[in-house]
């Protein structure tokens, strides 16, 4: 019954979204004003019904209802409750339902909360949101029905891939989805503003919390995904430039650019057309990301199953939404009045540089990700693009971007004097120079990219807190703290990346129990090797005891695991986190003469990468909090060049 109830709710929600689109359309036509008040309640009802449908699916999973095909394929009665519930979205159909649920709830939130935007623009926004939802409802109902029943219910389900029985992964996809959906709201705002030709600060202020929220979740999602790949894959790397990873990075790059340009629009009423364009691009990137992952036209280590029909469906949606929005942009934007002017040397100027560089990096990642597809379509040759390409192209641009990050927040809006800016950035520049000198003196032989990275990380770390210099810290707005912490987070992450790249030590040996190996500052004793068993797996486990002068000994247990249902072999890394780095160990195969392959890494300060990512997200959250507080409880506008 629950499944039918869920399906009915889904159909109703789909019908409501069609109604919302039609009513919105008619309300915007001459003489349709009378229809306007009906749009908001429909958006709310649609949100409620989608949430009900999603709740029904969760209930099916929680009860392990084996007459529902999706449950059989992705769950089993013996699974812990947490993973039963996480199983709801650990598969294609469920994750798409989660997508539309978040989309519906976001639409409902816009309908309730947004009061400052002109009513016409809001109606156009809600209509655009309904159009997006309608497409995804159609996708769910016609190409991936999550509530499909099985004629012959089996005795038990097939379980969930053991790799997915991991708390990190259970919450990773929803995090990214919230990010994607947040960008869809920004997209709807942009379309709404284009329809009513009302691109201005009010539109930017309405859109900004959504962009900020989406960006926070994307940051968290990418950071968590990176750490997951790092400890789960056992290859010692934290980013593989894999198409699935790039699919989450591209929307983040676009959202980061959008976040900065929307600030210009909200504060100074500049960069109108550009901001609208970025909103369209950001959502396009999340759609393209979803498409690339779901259609499987790019092969990836993240082996998602593939369905050409679904790929075609998503591509169709992509064509309608993005093509439509770009056409609307081309038709309308020349009638949007140009925003206010600014000097090249100004906060706006720095933000434009930020946007251009981010767009360039985005272009590079996009080209690199799709190049194999392009070549195969034209010449039939197969190739892959990896680290060397991205390091050579995106690396230097990203460093340049980080360098600009120091100056930007220290510049005044509208116009500034070069001499004054130089004076303000003198201290960070000095710190950078000292860092460079120290690195060259004390770390001879360091490669160029890590050297520049580490130098900039130190300089930017100093520069990012400079905006707080000589300010009344108690009266500094929360969103300024947010910016400072986010920028500091970038510096921290950069430091981690540079350290990992420059100072990692690795040892790969075949060792018999009793042997002692050396990696970095550690002596690692291969103490024992034993077979062990878990609830649904068996494993060979090594016991490693790592010692270092003056520190307590650490015991690590890397495993080679065999899962029974479905049969899979995985290697479980054992990682010891210390304040100055991580000891990362992997157990390989035996050579049939009593020796086992061991792979040991000492990675100094590698944790800074994810700590930095978390800081960036925390900064974003503070900024969002600050913005919302100001929007909801407006007080006097602050003065001074740092106020935004």
């Amino acid at each position: 019954m629950i499944a039918e109830f869920g399906l009915a709710a889904l159909w109703l929600a789909a019908a409501l979204s069609a109604l919302q689109l039609a009513l919105g359309w008619m309300a915007l036509r001459p003489g349709g004003e009378a229809l306007m008040p009906s749009v908001r309640p429909i958006a709310l009802a649609q949100a409620l019904l989608t949430a009900l449908a999603f709740g029904a699916l969760i209930l099916c999973f929680a009860r392990t209802d084996l007459s529902v095909a999706l449950v059989v394929e992705n769950s089993a009665s013996a699974k812990p409750m947490m993973y039963k519930i996480a199983g709801t979205w650990g598969n294609h159909e469920g994750s798409m339902l989660l997508w539309v649920t978040i989309l519906g709830l976001a639409g409902g939130a816009v309908a309730i909360l947004e009061r400052r935007l002109p009513e016409r623009t809001l109606i156009a926004t809600l209509a655009a949101q309904a159009a997006i939802a309608l497409g995804f409802f159609a996708f769910l109902l016609f190409a991936s029905n999550p509530f499909a029943r099985l004629a012959l219910p089996p005795l038990d389900g097939n379980g969930l891939n053991p790799l997915l029985q991991d708390p990190g992964l259970a919450f990773h996809p929803p995090t990214l989805y919230i990010g994607y959906v947040g960008l869809s709201v920004a997209f709807s705002f942009a379309v709404g503003a284009l329809v009513t030709r009302d691109v201005g600060p009010a539109f930017a202020r309405a859109m900004r919390p959504w962009v900020l929220g989406a960006w926070i979740f994307l940051t968290l999602g990418i950071t968590a995904g990176s750490y997951w790949a790092y400890y789960e894959l056992g290859w010692g790397g934290w980013w593989f430039w894999d198409p699935v990873e790039n699919a989450s990075l591209m929307p983040w790059l676009a959202a980061t650019a959008l976040l900065h340009s929307v600030t210009v629009l909200a504060t100074r009423d500049g960069l109108r057309a550009w901001t609208v364009m970025l909103a369209v691009v950001a959502f396009s990137m999340s759609m393209i990301g979803t498409f690339l992952v779901r259609s499987g036209i790019l092969t990836s280590v993240h082996a998602f199953a593939i369905d050409p029909k679904r790929g075609t469906f998503i591509l169709g949606l992509l064509v309608v939404y993005i093509g439509g929005a770009l056409a609307l942009f081309a038709l309308r934007v020349s009638t949007v009045k140009e925003g206010s002017q600014f000097d090249p040397v100004s906060r706006e100027g720095a933000l434009v540089a930020n946007n251009l560089l981010l767009s360039a990096v985005l272009g590079i990642v996009f080209t690199g990700t799709l190049y194999p597809l392009f070549v195969e379509a034209t010449t039939g040759e197969k190739l892959s693009v990896g680290h060397p390409y991205f390091d050579k192209t995106a690396g230097p641009l990203a460093l340049l971007l980080v360098a600009i990050m120091v100056a930007g927040p220290l510049m005044r809006w509208r116009r500034d004097e070069i001499a004054a800016v130089v004076q303000r950035i003198a201290l960070p520049v000095l710190v950078t120079a000292i860092a460079l000198l120290a690195l060259i003196l004390f770390v001879p032989g360091i490669r160029v990219l890590p050297l520049l990275g580490l130098m900039l990380a130190i300089g930017v770390g100093a520069g990012s807190v400079a905006p707080l210099w000589k300010r009344n810290l108690r009266r500094t707005p929360l969103f300024t703290y947010g910016m400072v912490i986010s920028h500091l987070g970038i510096a921290v992450a950069l430091a981690g990346m540079a350290c990992e790249s420059a100072f990692t030590k690795e040892t790969l040996v075949a060792a018999a129990p009793g042997a002692v190996e050396i990696v970095g500052p550690y002596q690692v004793k291969f103490a024992a090797i034993d077979p062990i068993a878990g609830p649904n797996w068996t494993a060979i486990e090594a016991t490693l005891v790592a010692t270092r002068p003056g520190r307590a000994a650490i015991t690590l247990h890397p495993q080679a695991r065999m899962f029974a249902q479905p049969p899979t072999e995985t290697s479980e890394t054992a990682i010891a986190t210390l304040w100055d780095g991580q000891l990362y160990t992997v157990l390989g195969k035996d050579d049939e003469s009593g020796r086992w392959q061991l792979r040991l890494w000492w990675k100094p300060f590698v944790t800074l990468i994810w700590a930095g990512g978390a800081l960036v997200a925390i900064g974003g959250a503070l900024a969002l909090l600050g913005r919302l507080r100001r929007e909801l409880f407006p007080r006097g506008r602050p003065t001074g060049f740092l106020a935004t």
Partner: protein
Amino acid sequence: MAGVKAKHQRLTLTLLAIVAVVGATLLAMSALKDQAAYFYTPGDVVKDGVPMGKAIRLGGMVVDHSIVHAPDGVTIDFKVTDGSDTVPVQFKGIVPDLFREKSGVVAEGRFVSSTLFLADTILAKHDENYMPPQMAGKMHESASLDTSAKTKALQ
């Protein structure tokens, strides 16, 4: 000044944006020429010549009885064939579980001499979660990372 400059600023910004994106794409394309790893079979290598020093992917079958373990316990030598030609490969690292003789393999790496391909990654061409096209997606949709199918070598 605002009136004249107004149009100019918008145009300048537009052009800047185009230059940035087009420039990035051109930079990307030129870098891709050198950095993209093409896929070769042993037959391609014999036919087109050895792409010395270039990062490529070499695909084929592991020749039966060709895997030789070096005394250090972590280096292996084996031969890859496509039925007609054969290329010797060396790899240092932990091989995937599914890597075995007479099964498919893709080795990422480069030729260090005309007679030796040094692999830094081995991908075994076998996937437990493999699904035929008709069923794929419908039945086994999960973000499964086939950890067993790929291992990284000593960099």
